[in-house]
Amino acid sequence: MTKTLILPRALIAGMAFVSGFCIMTIEMLGARILSPYFGGSLSVWGSIITIFMLALALGYLLGGRLSTRTPSGLTYSLFFIGAALFSLPIILFADSVMRPIMVNIEDPRYGSLLASIFLFFIPTSILGMISPYSVRLMVDREEHSGHMAGLLYFISTLGSALGTLGTSFYFVLWYEVNQILWGAVASLVLAGLVILFFENIMRTNKILRNRGYVNK
């Protein structure tokens, strides 16, 4: 059985790249954001990575679930825009989140863990939803579902690798932490808008095609 794709595959691949890139950009900045309050000890990195992993795990689960219902370009774009919105507190309210935690929790391990939950859990979960949903959007035949999933992991992990490298080698040298975060937020919003735009084109094309205005 072959279904029509809602969005072009290349676009979905590109979006998976963007999400992978942004996840690691935010994660790499995590230690920089937390260290003034909880220090630069190994456990602070441990907290950040733990929370990112848990958030992604939950995101994968939920994203996969959501994809079983009628998948739509609108939902897909909302992941990006939602992740961008929920990343804003990292930029805007970091101090108000971390200060009371630091004051109330003596042990920097649990302090940094809690701060990571508040700052990173929601946006990272939403970013995690993108991967399984992308798979669903790219697959139109059962036989090649594994192939598409592999391609998607490849591209999003490539994005993650470059996000890690770019952030830790260059961005922190060129920009301030918040400027980099704004960059990630802007990229995510832009990605969401691009998806909406293409979804619209595809839908219009489909309607026109069905009415016979456009040659198949």
Binding site: R32, S35, G40, L173
Partner: protein, 302 residues
């Protein structure tokens, strides 16, 4: 700049030569080795000279050395230089040392000021253990070690309203001072635990590629500060106070008063006043380091 560099190269050549001679003439025996959460720790002994080294495999230098037959004597220039702040604050009653190492700085403080409250912060509990086992460091009623990161400790101390008369910043991790302890915000937090009479002594490297950025940041936080270098040392000690710095004549006077008590540690304090300068020998156009912008070891003078 050129002369400076030449001097530097010459200086390091001499140091290398001395090192080579030393290693030929005497064999350093490793008496303890361990891999902690943060670093490889090695304790070596050459005759009566016992040294603490971090990350030997990467070629790091000695952190602390002590002469077993004369444990009072401070072996390194930078440890001796850390006491230059006494010229600005002669009788500290509360002392904060960030970074324990072999413990020679807090040990000396405890010896000099037995009634002073001394807090030491060390991130690596293995270093605390080694300092106690091999370098005669002991916690006492008045001297306590807290295992943890220096920055949150200072932040908390500020929230509690604690003040210290003498603060030594001597925290090093990996290549250099941790990035979050180089920023303007950090220095503002340090200022919050100082009074008008307090003195801050920060150990930095004069050859660091962060030298300019670091100097600009301290200058913005404290205004004028004393820059203290010795020709025999690659360290640059920053000495800062909240208010205006005392004039040099006062330092000369103070150093004379301190001379006798510091003699047994090998601190030649009367030589120090003329080495202290407020002259800015750094590029003042360099960017200040902040929590938002502190790429630490990525910066290479660009």
């Amino acid at each position: 700049m050129l002369i400076n560099r030449k001097k530097l190269i010459f200086g390091s050549l001499i140091q290398l030569l001395a090192l080579a001679l030393l290693s030929v003439s005497s064999y350093a025996e490793t008496i303890h080795e361990e891999r902690s959460k943060y670093r490889d720790i090695t304790v070596t002994q050459t005759g009566e000279r016992r040294c603490l080294l971090f990350n030997v495999h990467r070629g790091d230098r000695n952190q602390t050395c002590m002469m077993l037959d004369n444990p009072n004597r401070l072996v390194f220039d930078y440890t001796r230089m850390s006491f230059a702040g006494l010229m600005l604050q002669q009788a500290p009653q509360s002392i904060l040392v960030i970074g324990l190492g072999g413990g020679s700085i807090p040990i000396t403080f405890a010896d000099l000021f037995p009634t002073a409250e001394i807090d030491v912060i060390e991130i690596d509990d293995a270093v605390v253990k080694v300092a106690k086992e091999y370098f005669q460091f002991n916690e006492t009623q008045n001297m306590k070690v807290y295992v943890g990161d220096g920055r949150p400790f200072i932040k908390r101390a500020a929230l509690r309203g604690n003040k210290y008369d003498y603060i030594v910043l001597d925290a090093f991790s990996g290549d250099y001072i941790p990035e979050h302890m180089l920023t303007r915000e950090f220095l503002e937090e340090v200022k919050a635990i100082m009074t008008r009479d307090s003195v801050l002594v920060a150990n930095t490297f004069s050859t660091s590629r962060l030298y300019d950025h670091e100097s600009v940041t301290y200058q913005r936080a404290f205004g004028e500060f004393y820059n203290f270098k010795l020709p025999t040392s690659g360290n640059r000690i920053i000495i800062a106070q909240l208010g205006l710095l005392p004039p040099r004549e006062e330092l000369v006077e103070a150093s004379r008063q301190l001379e006798a008590s510091l003699d047994k540690y090998g601190v030649n304090i009367t030589d120090y006043p003329r080495r202290l300068t407020t002259r800015a020998d750094w590029d003042m156009s360099r960017r200040e380091l902040t929590d938002q912008y502190s790429p630490g070891n990525l910066l290479r003078g660009n």
